[in-house]
Symmetry: D2
Amino acid sequence: MAAIKEACGLFGISSAHKEPIGFACHYGLYALQHRGQEGCGIALNTEGELSVHKDLGLVNEVFPRALSVDEEHTRMAIAHTRYGTSGERSRENVQPLLFRHHMGSMAIAHNGNLTNDAALRCRFEKEGCLFHTTSDTEVIAYLICKHRLATGDIHKAIELAMDELEGAYSLLIMTSSLLIAVRDPNGFRPLCLGKLDDGYVFASESCALDAVGAVFVRDLQPGELCIVDKADQSLTSSLVHCNAIKSSLCVFELIYFARPDSVIDTISVHQARIRSGSFLALEHPCQADVVIGVPDSGIDAAIGYSRQSGIPYGIGFIKNKYIGRTFIQPKAGDRESGVRIKLNPIASTVRGKRVVLIDDSIVRGTTSKRIVRLLREAGAKEVHLRSSAPPFLHPCYYGTDIDSRKDLFACKYDHQQMMDILDVDSLGFLLPEQVVKLSDHQGIGFCSACFTGVYPTAVPKGASNA
Amino acid sequence: MAAIKEACGLFGISSAHKEPIGFACHYGLYALQHRGQEGCGIALNTEGELSVHKDLGLVNEVFPRALSVDEEHTRMAIAHTRYGTSGERSRENVQPLLFRHHMGSMAIAHNGNLTNDAALRCRFEKEGCLFHTTSDTEVIAYLICKHRLATGDIHKAIELAMDELEGAYSLLIMTSSLLIAVRDPNGFRPLCLGKLDDGYVFASESCALDAVGAVFVRDLQPGELCIVDKADQSLTSSLVHCNAIKSSLCVFELIYFARPDSVIDTISVHQARIRSGSFLALEHPCQADVVIGVPDSGIDAAIGYSRQSGIPYGIGFIKNKYIGRTFIQPKAGDRESGVRIKLNPIASTVRGKRVVLIDDSIVRGTTSKRIVRLLREAGAKEVHLRSSAPPFLHPCYYGTDIDSRKDLFACKYDHQQMMDILDVDSLGFLLPEQVVKLSDHQGIGFCSACFTGVYPTAVPKGASNA
Amino acid sequence: MAAIKEACGLFGISSAHKEPIGFACHYGLYALQHRGQEGCGIALNTEGELSVHKDLGLVNEVFPRALSVDEEHTRMAIAHTRYGTSGERSRENVQPLLFRHHMGSMAIAHNGNLTNDAALRCRFEKEGCLFHTTSDTEVIAYLICKHRLATGDIHKAIELAMDELEGAYSLLIMTSSLLIAVRDPNGFRPLCLGKLDDGYVFASESCALDAVGAVFVRDLQPGELCIVDKADQSLTSSLVHCNAIKSSLCVFELIYFARPDSVIDTISVHQARIRSGSFLALEHPCQADVVIGVPDSGIDAAIGYSRQSGIPYGIGFIKNKYIGRTFIQPKAGDRESGVRIKLNPIASTVRGKRVVLIDDSIVRGTTSKRIVRLLREAGAKEVHLRSSAPPFLHPCYYGTDIDSRKDLFACKYDHQQMMDILDVDSLGFLLPEQVVKLSDHQGIGFCSACFTGVYPTAVPKGASNA
Amino acid sequence: MAAIKEACGLFGISSAHKEPIGFACHYGLYALQHRGQEGCGIALNTEGELSVHKDLGLVNEVFPRALSVDEEHTRMAIAHTRYGTSGERSRENVQPLLFRHHMGSMAIAHNGNLTNDAALRCRFEKEGCLFHTTSDTEVIAYLICKHRLATGDIHKAIELAMDELEGAYSLLIMTSSLLIAVRDPNGFRPLCLGKLDDGYVFASESCALDAVGAVFVRDLQPGELCIVDKADQSLTSSLVHCNAIKSSLCVFELIYFARPDSVIDTISVHQARIRSGSFLALEHPCQADVVIGVPDSGIDAAIGYSRQSGIPYGIGFIKNKYIGRTFIQPKAGDRESGVRIKLNPIASTVRGKRVVLIDDSIVRGTTSKRIVRLLREAGAKEVHLRSSAPPFLHPCYYGTDIDSRKDLFACKYDHQQMMDILDVDSLGFLLPEQVVKLSDHQGIGFCSACFTGVYPTAVPKGASNA
């Protein structure tokens, strides 16, 4: 039940005439809502004219009614869901961003985080450029614009921009005639391609292809650039930035961010989580009566633990699905533990039992502590906590909102202290060497820097590993 | 994945001084949102003055901000969530209803359906009474008012009203000084009592007690009337209408309506559903590779089937929890099957497998047919459908919105036809004689008239069993 | 610039087929918005089925989009704007009220105030009737219902109800087939009749007839009852309750409530206000350089004063028309006088001049005092205040929200004290004997009880003239 | 009753500690709402940090509740109301615009229109700059930024930008420490300075100073640049761009745009309109019984005509002040003339009379035609139309939304044709030589290019006088 946030879901579509673009964008956004709940938006291409519709809020808040679209003439669009970090909720930063220019307008949507953002921004400002947002996406737009002016070609401009960009970026870019998808050479963030009868879909996760009835084709390769031309719905691919090095897919996509029904870089997210449970059962066995998972992302690993260990799987908690963003929090204090509005244990599952509890990760420890207490109050005799992520020890520079080291549970306490604080009978984490084996596909490489401190790229200047 | 609707969730609270009444009502409503999503409301008692706040919409729509309550002087409240039937969405019918009268105002919230509503309403209209709503709850209020005028006593008035009321009714009634809970003598609808440090809570389901940190005390007996006096927070109970006959708890509360973490009439809803899965595995075994449930209420039974049969349990579908009431439906038609926005199968669970699929019920067959098709498209080799409810054959007069016979799947087709239409390899229903054994408590009786046609009360005049 | 409030605007329409009923109701409500800004509503008759749409708020808040109406089958409607008194803003009380009954549903809209409301309500409650609202309109509905049950005839029922009703009531009543308009025998509140090509319109003021392009026919006589039959758009009139006594039109309708472009009981409101200015000039002359009026309702009287006196008319203030109900008030205190957001003087009109200032009335004196100060600050050399209403000395029981005696300026202070407090060089009120001469039509009688204490009906029991 | 639109209202404030900045901005915006109703916004300076709050809509829609401001630390702000042209309603263009830059952020609000906008924008785009808006204000921001980078000084940067800017611009610019006001060297748009006890206010019109209780100091000179330093609330003025040529105040500010209670460039708007009425009475006398004005801006001129001619002034129309932006328009067609929802004549004023009707201008003729028809229907015997603006014959390049020549009434028809179309008995326009005499202050020059075709600056390249 991680509270970690990450940057964004991407959805792009081009269809010659059959697909209702407005509806498709809605469905795509709904399917990717879990990747970003601060804001969302849709940029439309209507006979070459670009327009954008976006705001802070969930999809059903920003688009309470179907977006009115001239379906006959609007045949291309990109859409975006954005995550929210506290204090930075600003309407300006909601994407897609739309830039108007006499060489042609451009809409852009971005998932990831640059590591050389500050340096590039400073350079552009010194050249007299003005920024409207605090987003690194605007930096990407400026880089592309600069090279487009120089070369007169959007494709070349993006390739040249990629030479300068460092860090994590999956991009969707829409011009008056093209839909362009880009994945950074490390492949930090996912991006996949789907086929329609008369066009193409790009999406952060395959579940968004399913949502519009598109057929999954493949993941973009790290460094790949795909272009769909509105004129003839032709697809071209450029592999200039694909290099020999192993990819660096963020392992937390598998553990927590992605939907279990998605397949990312040939890996079924659900199966990867099942595997994490099996690893945990092998590495941290225990004698118990029931295995339960913390909803939603601990459930799959719990099934894996149960299968491997033979201990029966049970449903330990009901999560209230009506609690929305505007939920009025209970006052802090002693009575908090008694109030079980978001997560309520099923006593009949755990009463008098030795319980294995699987959570997706332990970041600050506060949530885990509270959940263990709920189980104790419901009558659990023993609680054996297993985390399907290794301990967080290092900051992330690629778009994941992991606390600074001083707040990280595993940085502050040793194993025994953690057990005491969490009030558990045993505690086990997935090993960092196991986390990169969650895929059953040997060819996929991972970034697990937050666990190991080994970063696949240079880190931002001035960043201390603290 | 029944689309059957039922009437309402009740929550009432009285606390001498500690409990923040406004927050408690919000939490109670959130916990009971699954019982009614058309509208909701809260009636407050502020130093004897009653006021009501309500509207059409979900809890977070009706109360986007915390209801402003004078917490010092507001020490009693009742709240209500209401279900929605098409065409009848009217703000007037949202509860609690508030009636002003020189003998004292009265707020009333109701779960259930009277069977002699029409006759009583007609009688009152002939006496010159005016009705503002189309709800049978207003009839109950008139009956109580009539007897209150005659006797001058609200307790006696309710007892006398109960002599005349027929059908299903769990009630919460609030006057300037009393909080009164009533359960009809058949006990069709649930109602339970919880204890606070300095007061009491009544709720349709125990999960709402958990939500406010109240300690479960017991279910109200069928026919019981409980009164909490604001003056001293004393609780008195009247058993005048409790009779020797076995209770008639609506069995669909266990199968579908209630939350799995609730305990109703001593039965854990989760365990009852697990039992239904075990019965299905015993009665309708099959050779298969994985057991999956249709979310949300088929999940528990699937675990039961898996445990009994030894066939591994798996997660077959992801349900999109962001799809709200305002979701824009895809256009009907061929492409519908390809659009998997609300429910998406996890292909890695079912591809190439023989699948046992557990659903909570099959009403019209259309949803089941679509779900089976999703599994086939995801690569399932065989689909064996099991329903944890018997076939629906008879109308319900107690507040459950079951289709008329001519639309009921099981009334229109024989077993082979059903299998052909649903495109399943085998099909099995829970037996009516098993459905009343879902409780492991011998003393609890059930109404299963919708399966058997045996009604525990007289049916409305003019009602044909069609 | 009176802050006095009064009850409500009425609009009813019946058209065989030409008039778009939904639009007509919107226009009617906009035209009558000045008579009530707390809430508004529309009751529609669609092939005999009644429905109601209403809420708290201004017309453009309650109906931000055009009400969706089946224009072909909806051929009759009544609408209502309601005024707001502090603390009583309740959605229940917004009209039209809709009552369902097996003898036929009935919608009712009411302007005025009964004087025997409490006695009637008590009588009905003792007979077992329940009230949903605190409005006396519900009492009228009960009376009509009682007699309808006894006689089986809605027309007779209303006539019999009128025998029992005391006080002020203009009514519009709609059944499945009839549109009925009633004016109380004293004619306290206005009500007029207009003609469409294929139907009729009733409205509180003739400006609402203009708004829908209806031709003014005549005012209803005090005590008259008009019925339009939907079947053939025939109009019948009953004069049973029309008696010989002189009418008692609320004189404040002319002075303040009504729109200047309305004609009420043959009197042009604009001309009546011009006449009030002429009376003031004759009775309270002064030597001055310019005559100005306080917007909006002092403007006409200022023109009258100017014409009679020969002193030039000028525009002294600009009123900010964008200040809505949600305007955030400045904090009280010294700086208040400097903040001129709602009303700003035009310095060039008054600087160095002797100014005659005409206001419609002086209730508490606070507003007048503030306005005089604005003029002084803008450079006025002398300020001669004239009020086009006599001093308020007595309470109103017919629906006008006049302060209790202890707060009335003219009850608390003598003439010199008033001049001192207001800081004016002279002060003059219209005489009570002049106020009944505002009409140039001899046959019209007025209620001016708030000035004279002479009430045209019995006053409510227990009411002290305080 | 011109439908001509113009660009925007400006309000800026700096106060050491006394003035509540949030409230002041609300009041300023309300006072300037008439200058722009498409959108509005407020930029705050909170201890040097800039933030902006803005949206499409009226002030009470964008700020339904008081903007939450840290009043202690927020001591400087600028605010803006924006006008709406059809088809261009975009949230991006709502001001103030906020630009973030490492040299310091900058908020900017603009009233007017550049004539060399396109050339400047193109130049910047070629240098690699990206534009978020279609507004020429962003061009101004880029110019300032360019020079700020070069000089490192915001004051010098603005002066250098003014060397390159052509056309109409009144500006408010806020940095982390300064509030800067600029008026273009022609003085097309107004801008004035007011004094608070502990700070300063700038506003487009003096009525906004009144709204916050500021004391009017003076108008900014054409070409003047004023800087208020937050550190010590000191005011400095630069006259570098003030030149000897006569100013070019848009004469339509006096005729139509400004509020009558404002004083612009020493001219009372109210008095200027009175003077226009006097000129009309001298130039186009007629024998009539009453003079009326079309609300709101024809009223003052009607009083002037009355005073000069001796014909009595009357109130001819009531304008419905509740009709908002969301008003549902009646369907076009014949019945339109009968529906008098926005503007209703007072029949008693005009029936049987010879009427002089004063309107502020005649652009397309359609509105005037309709108003004359209303008067005829209300019984006017003769209608003599007088326009307090000369005939529109030429386009405006300085921010006023005047129709292209082909739609202008006076370009299409000769005098007799106009009279026939409008159905008036006589027709008279203010003379172009009179329009520049509306001020009684000899030193003020005007732009009246729309009447004369004589433009005070070079016109945009490619602009044909059509």
